[in-house]
Amino acid sequence: MIAIRDVAFQGAQMLLVLLLAPLLTGMVRVVKAFLLRRQGPPLLQPYLDLVRLLRKEVVLAHSASWLFRVTPYIVFAGTWVAASLVPTFRSGLLFSWSADLIALIALLGSARFFLALAGLDVGTSFGGIGSSREVMIASLAEPAMLMIVFTIALIAGSTQLSIMAAHMTSGAVGLRVSLGLALLALIMVSIAENARIPIDNPATHLELTMVHEAMVLEYSGRHLALIDLASELKLLFYMSVIACLFIPWGIAPPDGNARAIFVGMFTYLAKLAVGGVLLAVFETSIAKMRVFRVPAFLGAALMLGLLGTLLLFVSGSL
């Protein structure tokens, strides 16, 4: 009986993240359009885009190999699995122990590895510029993310997301300098990882400033749909991780009743909404930076993460 319930919750989580991800992106776009006093696309536009792309034929370059065709599925599957293993509305997911936070980050790293390869596959200069910049950004963002994980793991005594979340709600944590540093660094890394302004512009079509969009320039049809969905899932993943680690209140415990689960669902949606609005406000209030300013930005995130870890090595209570 318990097993069936756990399987049901795990399945619900997988469907939930899949269904919510385009909505989150759509919401960020709507809020941005509102802030810019534009008439933006409707809230559900990302869903319509996905459906339209899925039904179109794929135009494949002559020089594309099998890797180019397999990559969208790998990227989508890796990101989806990662997003499904983050506690969102209820902790104690059936398979949450199968990958801790380090493994989840590395899983997203695998997805990026294949996407960067696909950028080089057709043999165009735009794919190359996108890939090379993407790996440069990742080479700083990934260690920064790991240092953030270290900071939180040292406080919680675990790298398992559900145990970290439980520890954060337990009240034993309190306000800590290292947590503040980690939160700031995590926000910076999330912005970079999701190709948002000021690192990259998801809406740009000015070739020389593109990073992520240049890398996937050759994709079309269902392949592009999967890659778009994967980046929407990635945004949801990072927001869920921030919500789960830094504002874990409301998440239903594993033995929670229907009311707890309802509260958990409601608070999760509220957290996402607040996160989406904050992201839109942040993005409209700042200009995109030059590519070679990015290392300074991410280097700062890396140093903040390292500082947080170092503080905890010096004293467990900082």
Binding site: L54, E57, V59, L60, A61, H62, S65, L67, Y73, I74, F76, A77, W80, V81, F95, S98, D100, A103, A106, S110, R112, F113, A116, L117, L120, D121, V122, G123, T124, S125, F126, G127, G128, S131, S132, R133, V135, M136, A138, S139, L140, E142, P143, L146, M147, F150, L154, G157, S158, T159, Q160, G221, R222, L226, F292, P295, L306, T309, L310, F313
Partner: protein
């Protein structure tokens, strides 16, 4: 058991003279490599059997020094390294069954190859300092002979020269280390060295000498200079052995000295090892990113991975010094598992580079491209190796790095302040090197195998032979198995950690769903199998659903490229342009990188040129001064060669008087 291992080694040694006579025959390749394959497989099986065997089997042979003899023993540590050496050896022999057919100078490769395998086996089996050093030097010299097998290329001669110097230097350091360990009574037996606890000063000197001696063979920065020259110079299956296996033999030497012979460690040893490991990891990968020679790039990655292994070993030393046996077992397991993993994927990658070299005659990535169409199977195996070495789940490289991270997370309990500051920094360096390695292998695979062919050689490449492919697929399968079922491999290391730090990490294979839980379930767990199954199923379901429900139509057309596709393959990103952003970020500090753009004046028709200048600061700071000093001294002493007989006599006489005076005082 050690007897059967020695029989195998003797059989390998016996193959060498046979190879001398057979080398010119057309069947020599099969006649030499097939027995090598069988013998190494048997030796690996012996290693597997000895891993759990109690009591340890040992033997003393009346060889070598008359009052000492030669002692051999196969305890769990030796057995583990016997497995690593011979799995790598077997894969290389299988690969060479096909690859060796194309060897232009088989008479310079075949006789040394079995001897080299035998030498590496002897090092890990030796149970006294004398046999160890003789075997070590034998291994160095046979590998040197293989490095200069293609001596008609000037580059290779230089590589051989630098290698010979550095190998001599390393052995010299080890000689001093064992001399100190043996003490004034000359107890060369490992048994008596273990019994005689060295004083703390002597132990510290031995550790430093051991780190220098074994580290120079393993390729730790700054003693790595020979490695990226020598490893690529050898034929590819030997490169695989040198990078994948011989560096592990060097790690064995260090582990034997630091964990076994020296007795209880002192905390500051670990600072030294950790600092060296962290710097080696990051420097190795940064050097690798700047390369466009495929085999040299792989060689620099060996430097990086040796750094990762030394981080694990350094953490284990730190935990052991503070009596945290469980954590020490975890860190040591992480380091040794990375030894195994690296030997697998690095051999695989060198095989792939060898297959490419064979098919195109090119090692330079700037002349490759598009090989995934021409060599699909090689490309697939190489891709597996790339994912594994980049520490990405669900393959094996990730498991050992994950264990290292878990060990780092245990280290705030260490009470020394030096370690409290160093370990987080080393953790950041490890994370940085992992991310940079992924970047580097996107470049290595993307530029060589993807895109469009840059030269006719790459456009007309043909898939390599079935033996070589079999070797590559065998290692790819091992990468996957060790990645999704790491528990088996971790459990196999339990006797080794038991012997070296007293405990082992909890038994893994019995856990639900084959998860690995190195410390406690509440702390961390990872299940490569489930992650792999999840990704594979959700990817397949997505593919199936989309093809059935939405669209499965495909139209081939020219590349889009924002509307301006250019048919020239020169418009693609090259290896150096791919690395340019990273070079800008890290290169200015580490390599004093300078980009010089030369624009022709308006109206001139010659093309603009962009030159990139990189300086190897370690080479400039450490090696050039020594070379200059030696050259200066040699120039000064050169006059002694052209003296008259009178002056020679005077010189001899004054030297005699001087020596007598020294004796008198």
């Amino acid at each position: 058991m050690v007897t059967s291992a020695l029989f195998g080694i003797v059989a390998l040694l016996a193959l060498s003279p046979i190879a001398v006579f057979l080398a010119s025959s057309s069947r020599a390749t099969a006649v030499i490599y097939a027995p090598c394959l069988i013998i190494t497989l048997m030796l690996a099986a012996v290693g597997g059997a000895c891993l759990f065997e109690q009591p340890v089997s040992s033997i003393a042979l009346p060889l070598g020094l008359p009052w000492l003899g030669a002692h051999f023993k196969i305890d769990s540590l030796s057995a583990f390294f016997v497995i690593v050496v011979n799995l790598g050896g077997a894969a290389a022999s299988l690969f060479a069954l096909g690859y060796g057919q194309h060897e232009q100078a088989p008479e310079r490769v075949l006789p040394f190859y079995p001897a080299y395998l035998a030498g590496m086996n002897l090092v890990v089996l030796a149970d006294d300092a004398f046999s160890f050093l003789v075997a070590w030097e034998f291994m160095s010299l046979t590998s040197w002979a293989l490095v200069v097998a293609h001596h008609y290329e000037r580059e290779n001669l230089r590589a051989g020269y630098v290698y010979l110097l550095m190998a001599g230097f390393g052995t010299f350091a080890l000689l001093l280390a064992f001399g100190l360990l043996a003490g004034s009574n000359g107890n060369y037996l490992f048994e008596s060295i273990r019994a005689a606890q060295p004083s703390s000063g002597v132990a510290a000197m031995v550790l430093v000498l051991g780190l220098v001696g074994a580290g120079s063979k393993a390729g730790v920065v700054p003693l790595h200079a020979w490695l990226p020259l020598a490893h690529p110079a050898a034929p590819s299956h030997v490169s695989a052995l040198m990078s994948g296996v011989m560096t592990k033999v060097a790690v064995y030497g260090f582990v034997r000295i630091a964990f076994d012979l020296l007795g209880p460690p002192v905390w500051w040893w670990s600072i030294l090892v950790l600092a060296v490991g962290g710097i080696t990891a990051v420097m190795g990968v940064l050097y690798a990113l700047m390369q466009h020679d495929l085999k040299r790039l792989l060689a620099y990655h060996t430097v990086e991975n040796i750094g990762i292994i030394f981080i694990g070993l350094g953490l284990a030393l730190a935990f052991k010094a503070y009596g945290m046996a469980d954590a020490a077992a975890l860190a040591l397991t992480a380091g040794l598992l990375h030894v195994f993993n690296h030997s697998v994927f690095k051999s695989l990658l060198f095989f792939g580079a060898g297959a490419v070299l064979n098919a195109t005659g090119e090692r330079d990535m700037e002349h490759l491209g598009g090989l995934i169409h021409r060599m699909p199977q090689t490309a697939f195996a190489f891709l597996v190796g790339c994912v594994a070495i980049s520490a990405l789940p669900p393959l094996n490289g990730f498991v050992s790095e994950w264990l290292t991270f878990q060990a780092i997370l245990l280290s705030p309990q260490l009470s020394s302040w030096g370690l409290k500051f160093l370990v987080p920094a080393v953790g950041a360096l490890l994370a940085l090197s992992a991310a940079l390695a992924a970047a580097c292998f996107v470049k290595a695979f993307g530029v060589s195998f993807l895109g469009r062919p840059r030269t006719p050689a790459a456009a007309n490449a043909i898939e390599t032979n079935s033996n070589s492919l079999a070797a590559m697929f065998f290692l790819s399968a091992l990468c996957l198995v060790a990645g999704v079922l790491p528990g088996i491999f971790i459990d196999a290391l339990a006797p080794v950690t038991n012997a070296l730090v007293g405990v082992s990490i909890p038994h893994q294979t019995g856990l639900d769903w084959l998860t690995i839980v190195p410390i406690a379930e509440s702390r961390s767990s990872y299940n490569g199998l489930l992650v792999f199954v999840f990704v594979a199923t959700s990817g397949s379901i997505a593919a199936f659903a989309i093809h059935r429900l939405a669209s499965d139509k495909i139209r081939r057309g020219p590349a889009w490229d924002c509307g301006y596709p250019d048919p020239s393959p020169a418009t693609q990103y090259t290896a150096s342009s791919f690395a340019q952003p990273i070079r800008r970020v890290y290169g200015t500090a580490v390599f004093k990188a300078r980009e010089i753009g030369e624009m022709p004046p308006p109206g001139a028709t010659r093309p603009a040129r962009l030159t990139v200048e990189l300086r190897d600061l370690i080479w400039d700071a450490a090696y050039v001064p020594i070379a200059t000093a030696v050259e200066y001294a040699a120039g000064r002493l050169n006059v002694l060669q052209f003296l008259t007989i009178r002056r020679y006599l005077a010189l001899v006489f004054s030297a005699l008087v001087l020596l007598l005076l020294v004796l008198a005082i």
